[in-house]
Each structure stands twice: as structure tokens, then as C-alpha cells.
Amino acid sequence: MVRHFLPDNSLGQFLDGLSLFGALHGPVRTTEGVEVFGPVRTESDLLLNYRRTLIPPKKYLLPPRQTILNYTVAAGYTLPDEPEPHIILFGVHPCDLQGIAYLDRVFLGDRPDRLYRRRREAITLVGLSCEPDEFCFCTSDENIPRNADLFLQHVEHGFLVSAVTSKGEEMLDGLGKLLASSRITPQTSAEHRMMTRIREVARSGKTFPDSPLWERFAARCLSCGACSVCCPTCYCFDVLENGALDGTTADRFREWDNCLFRAHGEVAGGTNFRPDRRERFHYRYLHKYLGFGTLAGVPACVGCGRCRVVCPVDIDLTELFTEDGDACS
């Protein structure tokens, strides 16, 4: 793959060029001081050395609430027809790109999801390398994630730019004058020990049924669900209908749900298949690390570290994989 050098002082023009292909979004800081993916007005908005956003880019593909059907008495149920605006999502770290790759497997597999596909096709991914911190363990065993359209690697005085897809090449075509050829070979990094361990566990299907950690987690978990909200691969959704008071119109929508919530396993009549937190943790563990259905054996953790950062009571499921956790199993 050819890498081009983009000097720091050309980044603004580079971004202008990208924004010809769609609305530019990237890591920015809100007025409340939260780092989020959002619209980028000027180059100075962009956080080029951010650690992680609070909410991962899954929100662009699976909005927290999304209308799936409309209802009127006259027309019955109909599909909404809202065009998806094209978005250039700039500055996506390798872990979040891996998260999107996982969601693609779920929603574009043998049963493609219409709404997801429409949004996915309308988004262009521009990846950006990052510096890991003590919370994350990147999965990226190759330096350039394959699902980025373009990928930028931080180097001294600029970036190395690679076009990964034909869409990426098309975008670079018009930006050639900003780029210089480069002989810099970026550093490659070995896979993080934790990620190797997670892959081993997923392959072996270990469930750690006797680990005392489950009870310890359950005893202090607040069931706030923050770990799931901020997870780049958590996609559980509920389907709800919001009917007008007179019942003549309604919107049916899907909305992020959360396996840590009590209602997640509840059926009509009040029976709950996961009434306590221990069982809900087990369920989360099974889905996140061992996989359900056709993705059984595929771990969904991308090592972004968000759940470890946001948990208000410092619960970290990966403790199961450390030597102490293993000894308990």
C-alpha cells in the first residue's frame, strides 16, 4: 500500500478536500467539555490527539433511537423514506474501526439490515492512529485497519496517508497536490497480551462458572448500563411503538437496549430469565466474549477501554482473564 506524507500545515486544506465528499464529522469537544464525534466546522475543532470519545461511532450507524415504521389509519404501516446524508467520519481510531467491522458482520451478514446498510453506505471512514493508554488494549494486529477508506498515521511534522479502499483512492485523487511521496516506515506494534488472552478464551468457550468474581461484580454493580452504552460493539435494541393518544398515528422505532437492565430478560407475565445482576453479567460476558448465533467464537471486545473508564464502581470483566481470575475458574 502506498503511503503519502501530509504535512501538518496542509491538514486544513486536506479536510476541505474531504468535505467535498460529505459532511465532515470527527472528534471534537462539546461546550460541556465532553469528547465526542460530532460535526467539524474548522480544523481547530478537531482533537487530533484525543484518547477516546465518550460514545463510540456506532451512533452514526445505529442511532440511539431510529424510526423503523410509520403508521396511519389510512395507509397502515409504511416504511419511512428519509435520505441518509453522506458523512465523512474523520479520526476514527483502530479500535473503533474494529468495532464497526464487528457491527458490519452482525448487520450486513447473511441477513443484511436495511436501515444499517443505508447508513453504512452513506459513511466514509477516515482512520487515525492513536497512542494507547492504561485503559485500552488495541486489537489492531495490522497497522492499517482494512475497513477504513483512508487511514492517517501520526508521524513527525505530519501524517502518513494511505488509501485503503477504492473510495479512499478516489478521494485522494483530488488531493495529490497536498501530498508528498514518503519513505517513512511506520512502527508496527505487537498484539496486546490481553487481546491475545481474549481470543484464546473465545476459542475455548470458557465461561468461568465458578469464579467468585461474578458475585463481587454483582454486589457492587449499579445496573446503570454505562459499560454497554459506551461499547463500540454493543448493539442490543428494543422495538417500541409510540402511538398518538387517539391511536390514529404511530411511529415504531428501535432504541438502544441494555443487557444490564432488569427488563432485558423479562417476558409477559413477569417471568424474568435474568432477574439478578450475576445472571445479567453472565449474559453480557457470553455475548461480548464468546458471541451468539453465527458469531459464536468471535469476541466482540475491541479493547477500546471505554467500559473500564466509565464504570462508576470499577468493574472490569477482563479481570476474569487475568491469572487471578483464571485460578478461580
Binding site: V73, F237, G243
Partner: protein
């Protein structure tokens, strides 16, 4: 066979008749305005839309007829079922499906077939019963054991007694307890459903059982079925879970690493017996 997308437009259907079966349970006969996209297998479920209320999974209580009608036996319990119980004949609802695998009717061929229904679990098994009665010569014997809380809430009782009188079905009924006003009910065992299995002996490998009922029913029935000689492979359990999408996407209904909505809702006991929390 492919189930419809979770966000597909429901097939419009009109409520043809509403037959109140008990104080809180009614049989809704629907007339679909389009054909279902695939052949219905007993034990599969459909997603019923009640406009401005929402969608719920329901296992039809009969076999969809040539004229596009289908019966749903629904207890009033939550938001959507309460709205459904407020509808009138002629009102419009919507149907998507069928979803899931259904009972393996071919595997029942030549066997002594035992249907075990508890409470509202009679609804999906009534659909299987109709199928087996239609192909009665395919199975060696057909027995329905049905338990209800009390005589007043026993569903389809007269219909089942009529079927039993034709000789093609052996029917055993039980109620958990007799209420004072119901002392004169016809012959009916008093006791939980598994008590009907006491002393029953079936030929291992040549018998099978289909079970559907409230969640606690499964745990207390399995041991009796195994003791009666039904092998693990031939015990089919229709499991209940919270199924929102029907296609293995929304992730509410996982049983171990299976999805109840698309790998089930009917599971062989052998396949799920070691899964914690499955039963």
C-alpha cells in the same frame, strides 16, 4: 426458508371474530389480506402488530387456513395485549412472520406422540395437534395431557373432549386445584401436570414429547418424561423468551449461544440441557 426482516411492513389483517374463552383470554380469528411469505410450521410464531400499541410474538393456535384466516389465543396481560382485547371485530391489525423453527413434525412420524400443555401453552400445541390430527396415520398414537390452574380457565375444553370422543386422540386433563363452585366438573385429575405422567411407560426411541407451558413447567416435567422412557433427543421444548426482532439481531432471547427466535423457539432437550438458565 427466510423469515421476514425485523422492520418489514406487517401484512394487514382484519379481526374476523373474537371469542372470549375465559375472563382474560380470548381467541381472535384474523383474516390476512396477503399470504404469509412461507409455509407455517406448528410451533413457529408470528409478530402481531396492534396499531399504535406495538408488536408482540404470538404462536398461532391453529393452522393458517386456505382462506387466509388464522387463530391467535391471547391473554390480556401487558400493553399490547390489553389494546388487542379492546379491539372489535373488523378492526385492523398486522402480522409478520412466521419466525423460528417450529416442531419437527417429520421426526414424530411413526412414534407415540405425547403433547404436554400447561395453561396458555395449549395454544401452540393446539396448532401442532391439528397438524397431527390431519396426518393422524403418520403417528402411532397421539396423547394430549393438558393442565390448567382450575376448571374455569381450562381452554378449548369442549373442543378437546369432542376430539377425544372421535377416538383419534387420547386426552388427559388435570387442574392444579378444584374451586368450590366447580365440584361438578367432568372427570379430570387434580394435581400438577407431571402427575399425569406417573406410571406412564413409553417405548424409548419410539416415543416423543412436545412441551409448552409456563417456564416452571419444564423443570418439573423433564424428569418424569425421561423416567417414562422418552429419550432426550425426542423431548421438544417450546421455550419462551423476550423476542423483539425475530431474526437474531436484538439479542434479548439468547439461550446459551442459541437464539430462541431463530434457532428455536423449539429446542431438543439434549441440545439445551447443559445450558445454565435454559430451563
Amino acid at each position: 426458508m427466510h423469515a421476514p426482516e425485523f422492520d418489514s411492513v406487517p401484512i394487514p389483517a382484519r379481526i374476523q371474530t373474537i371469542q372470549q374463552l375465559t375472563a382474560d383470554t380470548a381467541l381472535f380469528r384474523l383474516k390476512l389480506e396477503e399470504k404469509l411469505p412461507s409455509v407455517f410450521i406448528p410451533g413457529q410464531f408470528i409478530q402481531l402488530s396492534v396499531p399504535a400499541g406495538g408488536e408482540i410474538p404470538i404462536s398461532p393456535a391453529d393452522l393458517p387456513a386456505e382462506d387466509g384466516t388464522m387463530e391467535l389465543c391471547v391473554r390480556r396481560f401487558g400493553h399490547v395485549t390489553s389494546l388487542l382485547h379492546r379491539t372489535k371485530e373488523g378492526d385492523q391489525v398486522g402480522i409478520r412472520g412466521p419466525f423460528g423453527n417450529g416442531f419437527p413434525v417429520d421426526a414424530m412420524s411413526g412414534k407415540d406422540v405425547l403433547l404436554l400443555a400447561g395453561g396458555l401453552g395449549i395454544a401452540p400445541l393446539r396448532s401442532l395437534l391439528f397438524h397431527l390430527l390431519r396426518h393422524r396415520s403418520d403417528v402411532r398414537s397421539l396423547t394430549l395431557m393438558y393442565g390448567a390452574r382450575e376448571p374455569a380457565v381450562m381452554l378449548f375444553k369442549n373442543e378437546l373432549l369432542d376430539l377425544a370422543n372421535t377416538g383419534s386422540l387420547r386426552l388427559l386433563l388435570t387442574v392444579d386445584f378444584l374451586t368450590e363452585t366447580c365440584q361438578t366438573e367432568p372427570a379430570c385429575n387434580v394435581g400438577l401436570l407431571p402427575t399425569l405422567l406417573k406410571g406412564v411407560q413409553l417405548e424409548p426411541g419410539h416415543s416423543c414429547a412436545a412441551v409448552c407451558g409456563p417456564p416452571p413447567l419444564y423443570r418439573c416435567t423433564i424428569d418424569e418424561l425421561l423416567r417414562a422412557g422418552v429419550v432426550e433427543d425426542n423431548i421438544y421444548l417450546s421455550l419462551e423468551r423476550r423476542m423483539k426482532c425475530g431474526v437474531g439481531l436484538c439479542c434479548h432471547c439468547a439461550v446459551g449461544q442459541y437464539f430462541c427466535c431463530c434457532d428455536g423457539p423449539v429446542f431438543r432437550y439434549r441440545d439445551i440441557k447443559d445450558i445454565p438458565g435454559a430451563l
